[in-house]
């Protein structure tokens, strides 16, 4: 029962996210999902604990919901920004000459797309034609520089 409740909450979150993506909101896709997923998660925790208490089924339901939400966010951000996912979707139109792939999927356009997103989300700023990294962007850069070192990516 608790597991079914978690699955139902997740399906509802995905359906409402689809609707939110069609609404004129000034929010990116992840924030739109959080707007729906977090309150639903809080409701699930409340109902689970009230109904099942801090038992195995109650905690399992909460964790299952959290996993499904994380997986969903991972998948839709992948679909929106991954090079491989975009290539696969593009190839649905038919085979492409390997040499023509670069022109069909323009790397410069990809840089522009990411740059626009960074500007929109406040990681990079542009003033009088010059780009600069904001405090938020610097923080992110510091964190990932540390992570690169931790995972050993820098010594490769």
């Amino acid at each position: 029962m608790a597991i079914v409740l978690a699955l139902a909450a997740f399906v509802l979150a995905v359906l409402l996210h689809g609707l939110a993506m069609r609404a004129p909101l000034q929010l990116d896709s992840v924030r739109r999902f959080m707007l729906i997923g977090v309150p639903l998660g809080v409701a699930l925790v409340t109902v689970s604990l009230a109904r099942f208490g801090p038992t195995l089924p109650g905690i399992a339901a909460i964790l299952l919901y959290a996993l499904l939400c994380e997986l969903y966010i991972f998948l839709f951000t992948l679909v929106l920004s991954s090079v491989s996912a975009t290539m696969l979707i593009m190839l649905r139109r038919g085979p492409v000459q390997a040499s023509a792939l670069a022109s069909v999927y323009d790397p410069q356009e990809m840089v522009q797309l990411r740059l626009d997103r960074l500007l929109r989300n406040g990681f990079v700023a542009r003033a009088s034609g010059r780009f600069s990294v904001t405090e938020k962007g610097e923080r992110l850069h510091r964190i990932f520089t540390g992570l690169r070192r931790f995972f050993g990516h820098e010594s490769r």
Partner: protein, 167 residues
């Protein structure tokens, strides 16, 4: 039960932090994925055994709990690992920061070249995974690739309705 799986995942993470992260095999995408996949299979099998032996105290809920906790841990870890390895947006931030420090313009053309190299790598990876095939210089979806592309396109249509007709 929650404590047992928490201890197991802590040990898995500690083994990586203190011993395994320095090994070359775990610095590759395949290596790190296998490290987590093998652990998830092990935890899942242990969960199945417990669910069968203790259907009332553990049961399906216990199995779901084990897999969910492992899933959250592994997915978070692998996402961070992958982002730290070569996030494109992070490369752009680094390029802007570098240019800012040296008083020059960011070299976005160099970043586009990285994108181009990345594109070649990705095609090779998709061929290895059996999702696309290259014949006579043409790249096409395989049957499996077609199914995956269908699902990806459906998800893109769901979350980006304005871009839906492009795929």
């Amino acid at each position: 039960m929650l404590l047992a799986i928490a201890v197991y995942l802590t040990a898995h993470f500690a083994a990586y932090v203190f011993v395994l992260r320095h090994r070359a095999e775990l610095r590759s995408e395949n290596g790190i994925s296998m490290y987590h996949f093998a652990s998830a299979v092990f935890a899942g099998l242990a969960g199945v055994v417990f669910a069968v032996l203790e259907p009332n105290r553990f049961g399906l809920s216990g199995l779901v709990l084990v897999l969910s906790l492992h899933g959250i841990y592994s997915l978070s870890f692998l996402e961070l690992w992958s982002l730290a390895q070569g996030g494109y947006s992070l490369s752009i931030i680094a390029s802007v920061a570098q240019a800012e420090a040296s008083g020059t313009e960011p070299d976005f053309l160099a970043l586009a070249a990285i994108g181009e190299a990345k594109q070649d790598d990705r095609v090779a990876a998709l061929v290895r995974l059996g999702l696309v095939s290259g014949k006579d210089g043409r790249i096409a979806l395989t049957a499996r690739g077609g199914r995956i592309a269908f699902l990806l396109h459906a998800l893109r249509r769901w979350v980006q309705p304005g871009e839906a007709r492009k795929g």
